[in-house]
Amino acid sequence: MLSKPQLYLTKVFIQIFLRNKQYIFFSLLLPVVILGIVGLNNGERDPVDIGLVDNSNSNISKEFINKLSNNALFNINQSDEDSLRNKLIKGELTLILVLPNDMGNTNKTTNIKLLADKSQINFIEAIKPIINETLMSVEREISEKIPMFSLDIEDIKARTQTYLDFLLPGIMAFMLMNLSIAGSGFNVVEFRRRGILKRLFVTPIKPIDFVSAIVVARMVIVLGQLSVIFSFAFFFLDVNIVGSIAHLFFVIMVSVLMFLTLGFSIGSLAKTQESVGVIASIFIYPQIVMSGVFFPIETLPEFIQPFSEILPLSIVADAMRSISSDGLSLLAVYKNMIGISIWIIIGAFISTKLFVWKEVAG
């Protein structure tokens, strides 16, 4: 249990946070806006805008266009090649398909031209199979062949999962990281610079009192902030939470501890307020991109994926997602819990080795 001085210091840290209304507002604004935009869009992605030039005007080409238009993933714009090219350059279209004059000539293979902006090449790779599939089904109908195989995808999880369900645990993990790093690394460097730490350490409190007060205070703060976001998504955006909320919040608590120890390590490495910003950026930014917070790790280049999977934010986001969206228990995410524990040990080791309290106080 916490001693009276520890409890009082904890209370003061929470009080300081609550009085910084601007920080609270802006730290909640971004997640609310992102979740709001995704939620209002029903968690569905916008259809891909495709330009289509029909040079053949045959029955087959019409059939092809018809099939493609019926696919909800695509939004078809049919026009002449020049005006569509202009639209592609302006970014209004993702790609253009040009159906040649000889489409429908069953004696030879028809080459359909695909015009694309090179910057979109990865995305086009992703939708190419769907276009191919559409082409094949048109081909089968023309040749009146019955497909030998058909693949029926049945969702064994028997639930509907939207992008919002995927995004919410990621956003919460991301917030948790930011709040924890700010609470440990940034605060310690700031308190040291202003001589506040020194003033505290001329009283009989020990470094462990100070650290435990920060840890408990941050847990309360993060729980509060995440509860706001969670309630917003749950009540206003109709997010699906399948797993146990208690398990989810347990993961959150342990993760706060992990990011606090890592934050203390950053605070130990940094000597000035400027350098803590730079070191924290090096820690935070790659994780935003590589931790599967906004997009699944599987969409990243393959050689990066093993590295991404061991990042602290990936482990936390994955554990939270497994519980909230897939309904797994704490026991089932034991690998993530081991990962979090390893990071806690690494963080605690670096911060206790580098954090010289006498120097901090001096």
């Binding site: 001085p5 009082y8 009080q15 020194k198 009283t203």
Partner: protein, 254 residues
């Protein structure tokens, strides 16, 4: 009876200009400060005054030598010592968005003390600023608040590190009165200062430090008699500033 005893204190640092070299910021300082005394430590910038104080306060490790306050060894029991000393630091910034009363309540909680924060503010004439933010105070008020925060545990020894630096004459006099008042209750006060008038006016005894060593130690009157120019042993001509310059030279340090 002495309440503070220090013997052969040494503090080593890496030389900022040549990291491979070590220099002694404090180099064999021995002190014996009596209970109820106002003891001043004078010295040019970088002489080792603050480092000496911080070693006594348990804020910095003592590399060599030993120190005890009220018969308790500072190195082995720093947290015990901190319970009965009060410290006013040179820098006096506090947490943002907290009032003076709230800050005092925090310091009281850190000592498990149950003093009335308003009483403490009254003692330093800041009762009307009880709900003000510490960062809104004037220089003199900040220093008085800093002293109030050092009194939360009713300390036996009060350390003041340059308590009047940067203050106008009125604020300075006000702090002097406060120090004398506290001392009249039996509190031992150890202060560092650059202000010779202050040292002469307040201190019962003074140690002058230079290059990490104590180069003179006595009452202000005896130091003046001994070191001020035109010394005539019966009549006091010079003042503490003359003593200081005579002992540490005219050159600027930084």
């Amino acid at each position: 009876m002495s309440i503070i005893n220090a013997s052969g204190l040494v503090k080593k640092y890496k030389d900022p200009e040549d990291k491979s070299k070590i220099f002694n910021a404090v180099n064999g300082v021995s002190l014996s400060i009596n209970s109820g005394e106002i003891f001043g430590i004078l010295g040019p910038n970088g002489a080792g005054k603050t480092t000496t104080l911080e070693m006594l306060e348990g804020l910095k490790d003592i590399d060599e030598g030993s120190a005890s306050i009220n018969s308790i060894d500072v190195s082995s029991n720093p947290y015990e010592v901190k319970k009965f000393i009060g410290v006013q630091l040179q820098a006096n910034e506090y947490f943002d968005n907290m009032t003076l009363v709230e800050l005092l309540k925090l310091f009281l909680a850190l000592y498990n003390s149950s003093h009335d924060p308003l009483e403490l503010l009254k003692r330093v004439k800041l009762e009307d600023k009880a709900n003000a933010n510490a960062n809104e105070l004037s220089g003199g008020q900040k220093q008085r608040f800093s002293i109030a925060s050092a009194l939360v545990n009713n300390p036996l020894v009060l350390f003041l590190d340059e308590p009047t630096t940067g203050l106008d004459p009125q604020a300075k006099r006000n702090i002097w009165e406060l120090v004398q008042e506290l001392n009249s209750t039996g509190m031992t006060i150890v202060l560092t200062t650059h202000n010779m008038e202050e040292a002469e006016f307040l201190c019962h005894r003074i140690a002058i430090m230079d290059y990490g060593k104590i180069i003179a130690e006595d009452s202000p009157k005896n130091l003046i008699m001994e070191h001020a120019p035109n010394k005539i042993r019966e009549i006091k001509y010079g003042n503490m500033e003359d003593v200081f310059i005579a002992l540490t030279g005219h050159g600027l340090r930084d």
